[in-house]
Amino acid sequence: MSTVNLRHDLILADDNIRLREGAGRGLSIALLGLGALLTVLAVLGAVAGDALTARTALFALHTGFILSVAFPLTALVLVMIFHATNAGWSATIRRQFENIASLIWIAVPFFFGILILQAVLTATKGEGGSIPYLWKWMNAAYVEGDPAFEHKRGYLNYGFFLVRSLIYFAIWIGLSFALNSISRRQDEDGDPKHTITLGRLSCIGLPFLAFSIAFAGFDWLMSLDFHWFSTMYGVYLFASCMVLSVALGTLTLITLSSFGKLAVAFTEEHLHDLAKLLFAFTVFWAYIAFSQYFLIWYANIPEETMFFQVRRAEPWTGLSVAIPIAHFILPFILLLPRPLRRSRGFISFMCVYLIIIQMIETYWMIRPEVYGVGPWHWLDFVGIVGPVAIFLGLFVAKVASGPLIPLKDPRLHEALKHKNHI
């Protein structure tokens, strides 16, 4: 029934699964240069401006940091789900997600960069300690006598915060390094036992990964306003960011195949399934985002409604109305028809669109904490795009550095003749 001619020697020919020496180097250097330039601009803007400008720049950089960590982190989730569910169809496309996930180390320099910048700004523009820059609770004078904070003091203190962050980094870097190196070792020796090891590692690692993502969300984002709390914030962050890595991976695969690579290894069928994942995570996001909003709206408790109160009021009203439409209703309708989900052009458009929408939504999650500065300050653009461009530059170099598919995965034949019957 299958009309695909499965010639393994042709599929595994070097010009099908490897980029030539130096491919993408120009793009990578351009992205890295742009990212570095924009990041430096944002830092300079923070150092040179007044207290409010500095806060704006720091929040923008923080958004950029979260986004450039979210790409590899959610890719790691995806790779581990592929392994844990023994997903044969994903064998040929997995390497690109591994490439994204391998850049998780970027979290460490960015995180400490943000902490150092915050310390410098607080020291130079402290205004008597009344404006702590990013995490308000880090300022002892600010939280003095705050009853809401007294309850959280045991958790929200600088030392424990650092220890927790280091634990997250250890889990993420450890998992991503292990998964990547075992998968690459299989490229060389072709031992099918590695696949079993990867599956076990993923099953054990997924709960740790899930909890560390949730708690990183609590620590780095939710505690920006330490009065506010939402127990589903972790899953909300995860649900919204998942689309980033699915979209970036799909875009990479489409780009590679438009350069004549990955023939048979990446087909319309794989595209269709990736588009289904895009669709699934848009719907999942809508479900989680609405549930969070709904519970807070219903209970109507001041500490909880603060988050939405700020975002529903001017100048954030427009964005708050636009995000559900742009992030759910439009993609839901557009990704529903089967022919559209199998169209390379349309799906690459949707990938870019969803990445941009997700960047705007993360911005909406973080930036309204700076009171008195409306959306779309110039520092927002440089501060967010800077770190993300650095990440993308590193990613392009990573893609070009090795074979584009796992060469000796025992499930390769499954992925090569993968078909969607519905």
Binding site: M1, S2, F290, W297, Y298, N300, R338, K419, H421
Partner: protein, 186 residues
């Protein structure tokens, strides 16, 4: 009426000519040939769904999703109208200081009704498109046909097909590997 203008060897109106096939590969291959010859009124009967048989038979994508979509849209509309009428028009009541028409509060019911109407209309649509329920089918009279529920694959080309010609079809089915070629009376 063309169906009844064709008669079987015993003189009764003919419904179809059927042939048995031993396995899914042969029946899929036969379906591809029959599709390419341009027959339109025919069917493949199998004990289980065969991957790729839709394509081999040249079937168009199912239209059940349109029924489902219509059900979803009417479910959303009905639910919102109902709740708006009940809590903002007929018996306005302040609950928890919320507005009379608070869309947030109506969302769960709207979602549930949309899912319910979608599934009901998908089932009704499926039954309608399949021509079900059906009290009797001429094929059911054939002893051999009943084995299609067990381990046999059958192709039947109906007399209603514009290209129907009993002799050609007998020969075609035999060439494609069909066994026990038989007439099915109306």
């Amino acid at each position: 009426m063309s169906a009844h203008s064709v008669t079987s060897s015993s003189g009764a109106p003919l419904h179809a000519i059927m042939a048995e096939f031993p396995n899914p590969a042969v029946v899929s291959h036969a379906a591809e040939k029959i599709r390419d010859l341009g027959y339109s009124k025919w069917d493949v009967y199998s004990p289980f769904p065969i991957h790729g048989i839709d394509e081999a038979m040249g079937l168009k994508p199912s239209r059940v999703s349109f029924f489902a979509g219509a059900g979803a849209i009417s479910g959303i509309t009905i639910a919102l109208l109902m709740q708006w009428w009940m809590s903002a028009v007929d018996y306005p009541m302040v609950i928890g200081g919320k507005p009379y028409f608070a869309w947030e509060q109506y969302f769960p019911v709207t979602f549930e009704l949309a899912v319910l109407m979608t599934s009901i209309s998908a089932i009704v649509g499926m039954l309608t498109l399949n021509g079900l329920p059906l009290l009797h089918h001429p094929m059911a009279k054939k002893e051999r046909f009943l084995r299609v529920g067990d381990d046999r694959f059958i192709i039947a080309i109906e007399a209603a097909d514009p290209k129907f010609n009993a002799d050609d079809i007998r020969k075609l089915l035999a060439d494609l590997g069909g066994e026990h070629i038989d007439e099915v009376e109306e």
